[in-house]
């Protein structure tokens, strides 16, 4: 008996399934892949519940590197081991890098045109605003207490305004915040 059902898309937790899921996240994620990662992994494929996703995002966000890249590694490893991580990562990066390559080549060729120069200057200014807005949003969502505000503020002033070397500033700020945070929690 023939089924009339459309063949279901590859939502299996396989190498190709991981590759395709993250391919979609990479292509759709213009202006931020984070919301698309949630949409594809939780809402569309139901690979993780909302709570599991939040937990994984929590781990991804304390690791260095982009959250979505880390989620690709963690989820890929959970389903298919090391090669699963590679499948997910290649899916995530393939199209963005191809598109970037195309845009960059065009940019190189036409970068001396006045219109292109102006457009890029405008885009660069908008991008700076995008990053500032994102930072302020992160701050708002975090509802920081005084210590968190002080540590974020110290990083902003040293790295952003005084342009101090990032690694040492980061280590000092993290160590100082850790000591103060532990002391603060002990007292309560």
């Amino acid at each position: 008996m023939k089924s009339l059902a459309v063949p279901s898309p590859d939502y299996k937790k396989s190498h190709s399934g991981l590759f395709l899921a993250f391919l979609k996240i990479g292509v759709c994620g213009s202006g931020g892949v984070a919301s698309w990662a949630y949409r594809v992994i939780v809402e569309e494929r139901a690979w993780l519940t909302e709570a599991e996703y939040a937990e994984m995002l929590g781990v991804a966000s304390i690791l260095p590197g982009a959250n979505t890249v880390n989620i690709a590694v963690l989820l890929g490893d959970r389903y298919c081991g090391f090669l699963g991580s590679i499948s997910a990562l290649s899916g995530l990066l393939l199209m963005p890098i191809a598109i970037l390559f195309a845009i960059a080549s065009l940019y190189e060729r036409f970068s001396f045109e006045a219109d292109v120069k102006h457009a890029v200057a405008g885009a660069a200014a908008a991008t700076a605003g995008l990053v500032i807005g994102t930072g302020l949003k992160m701050m708002r969502n975090l509802k920081p207490d005084l210590l968190a505000l002080a540590s974020g503020g110290a990083i902003f002033v040293t790295v952003g305004l005084l342009q101090t070397p990032m690694t040492s500033s980061l280590l000092i700020a993290a160590a100082a915040t850790l000591v103060l945070r532990v002391a603060l929690e002990r007292r309560q």
Binding site: V27, C28, G29, G31, G58, V59, A60, S61, L63, P64, G65, A66, T68, V69, N70, V73, L74, D77, R78, L89, L92, L93, P96, I97, I99, L100, A104, S111, D115, K117, H118, A119, A121, G122, A123, A124, A125, T127, A128, G129, L130, V131, I132, G133, G135, K137, P144, S151, G152, I155, F156, V159, G160, L161, M166, L170, A173, A174, T177, L178
Partner: protein, 180 residues
């Protein structure tokens, strides 16, 4: 601007493990070294490349890809991207294997409470550095401010804001608005 592939690899590998909050968090350090110290490119080029990368879809690690591409073509792109990815991906993989099973919730929570404010501090620092690098006139400053408000106050896809800003800048340029 003489960067060999091994210079590029070393430079981005050294940034990989301090990219708390992703590649965007390392923009101040990239700017400090690439523009101020090593003189691999000027402010305008730096700001332009980052603007182009942010307009493209994908995770923000591609900011690094486009800088590598500008310095050494396709090989530079591959080397910069891999150098930025490999250390942090290895760490994520080790975490996935080791820590998942033995994770002590209190310690996770503490690390997150320490790192979260540092992450937003770094992103705001990036914003400051990018604003300065992209600053050409009162118009670019107005664009930056408007975009920050748009992102903060609405849920509009930021790509629209970037495209609108590029369009506005072209029109202003055609109208003879002194830009450069």
């Amino acid at each position: 601007m003489n960067a060999s592939l091994s210079d590029i690899a070393r430079f981005f590998a050294s940034l990989s493990l301090v990219a708390i909050g992703g590649a965007n968090a390392t923009i101040p350090e990239m700017h400090r070294q690439i523009v101020n110290h090593l003189h691999w490119m000027d402010d305008r080029t730096f700001a332009g490349l980052i603007g182009v990368a942010q307009a493209a879809p994908g995770p923000n690690v591609i900011v690094v890809s486009i800088i590598g591409w500008h310095m050494a073509g396709a090989a530079g792109l591959a080397v910069a991207t891999l150098a930025m990815l490999i250390p942090s991906v290895c760490l994520a993989f080790i975490m996935s294997r080791v820590v998942r099973r033995y994770a002590d919730n209190d310690i996770w929570r503490l690390i997150r409470r320490v790192l979260a404010p540092i992450a937003f501090g770094l992103i705001l620092a990036s914003g400051a550095v990018m604003t300065r690098a992209a600053d050409r006139s009162i118009l670019t400053l107005a664009i930056t401010l408007g975009m920050a408000l748009l992102v903060l106050q609405t849920r509009v896809n930021p790509l629209f804001g970037i495209v609108a800003a590029a369009g506005a800048a072209v029109i202003a340029g055609r109208a003879g608005f002194a830009f450069f």
